[in-house]
């Protein structure tokens, strides 16, 4: 029935904790198809009412940046402090910016 030498495809799971919040990555799991991925995610990641919505994405469908290229990708932003909005005066009345 199940060939244990062949791994089921990996899915990345995102859970929305409550309405209005973003879906957050919580982990990954194996499943043979999309329906099973949702069911496994429900059983693995929402046992304690952690969420109201689940997204499952095939890990293979995620395009990721290469850690080896992180210098080229991220280093150039390091000395460009003017990109941070740190030169503004924040009025005292604004508490939650």
């Amino acid at each position: 029935m199940i060939d244990s030498t062949k791994e089921w495809p990996l899915y990345e799971i995102f859970i929305r904790a409550k309405s209005g919040l973003d879906h957050k990555h919580v982990g990954s799991l194996h499943a043979t198809d999309a329906r099973m991925a949702l069911e496994h995610a429900r059983d693995l990641y929402t046992r304690r009412q952690e969420g109201v919505s689940i997204w499952a994405v095939r890990s293979a469908d995620i395009v990721a940046s290469d850690p080896a290229e992180s210098d080229a990708f991220f280093e150039p932003a390091r000395d460009k402090v003017y990109r941070h909005p740190t030169f503004y005066e924040i009025p005292d009345e604004v508490k939650t910016l």
Binding site: M1, M36, E39, D43
Partner: protein, 249 residues
């Protein structure tokens, strides 16, 4: 024992025995994810069994609580359906047993939610939500295996043939069932057959499986007459409590 108490005990024992069976998969399921899936269902059923056992103890009125009823009754006093005491077999056997049961329990709970026994109605309403998910899980696997490879299809078809005869008992009413139906506490078992058949047939079609021919013989687990397997299950389940009465953690 009056029919009302006996009826609730049947429901309790059926859930308890199936919970114990599913618990046997812990550490043995085909994938870690299925291990957790089956354990979740097992714990849902155990939760329902605990509520039902407590209720049965109150109806009996002899001071027996859930632990007394679960751990200190002998095999012949257990009133579970014969279907749920069947051994786990392979994963497909477990799925078929679960699917045939879930489809029945969902019909039953939806009906019991209107019971004149308010406590039973509340337990059934809670249980129906859990059971809907169980049916989704077991039905999903039945379709996956039935409509899967040549081997998975052949094996799940054999499981279905083997377990099908045990479904007779689900719809076969006796004196207890008739008294319960007359009192408005629970449905006549036969009245659940059409709804169950519809939901089972729908999944069987999607799974490319053929509904087995009706079997002519019956089983009587709910009257305390069990097959050869239940004794071993109870021995394992009850051994700790019997060796260390009142043990807690």
């Amino acid at each position: 024992m009056m029919p009302h108490c006996r009826y609730v005990l049947r429901l309790a024992d059926t859930n308890l025995v199936l919970a114990q069976r599913l618990g046997e998969w812990a550490g043995h399921a085909p994938a870690l994810e299925e291990d957790l899936g089956l354990a979740n269902i097992s714990l849902d059923l155990l939760g329902q069994a605990r509520l039902l056992l407590t209720h049965a103890g109150e109806l009996e009125g002899r001071g027996r609580g859930e632990d007394d009823l679960a751990y200190l009754r002998a095999e012949s006093e257990y009133l579970n359906l014969t279907l749920v005491e069947q051994p786990n077999g392979d994963f497909g056997d477990t799925i078929v047993r679960q699917f045939l049961f879930d489809a029945w329990q969902l019909e039953l709970y939806r009906s019991l939610a209107q019971s004149k026994d308010g406590k039973l109605a509340a337990i059934a309403a809670k249980g129906a939500r859990e059971t809907s998910y169980h049916l989704r899980y077991s039905g999903g696997w039945l379709i996956r295996l039935g409509d899967g490879t040549e081997e998975s299809h052949a094996r799940i078809a054999r499981s279905l043939e083997r377990l099908w005869p045990f479904t007779n008992e689900l719809f076969d009413g006796d004196d207890v069932d008739r008294a319960i139906a007359a009192a408005g506490i629970g449905p006549a078992p036969d009245s659940l057959r059409d709804g169950w058949s519809r939901s089972v047939d729908e999944v069987l079609v999607a799974a490319t499986l053929t509904r087995p021919a009706p079997a002519t013989f019956g089983w009587y687990g709910k009257q305390g007459r069990h097959g050869e397997h239940l004794g071993y299950l109870l021995a394992e389940m009850q051994s700790l409590h019997r060796s260390h009465p009142g043990a807690t953690w």
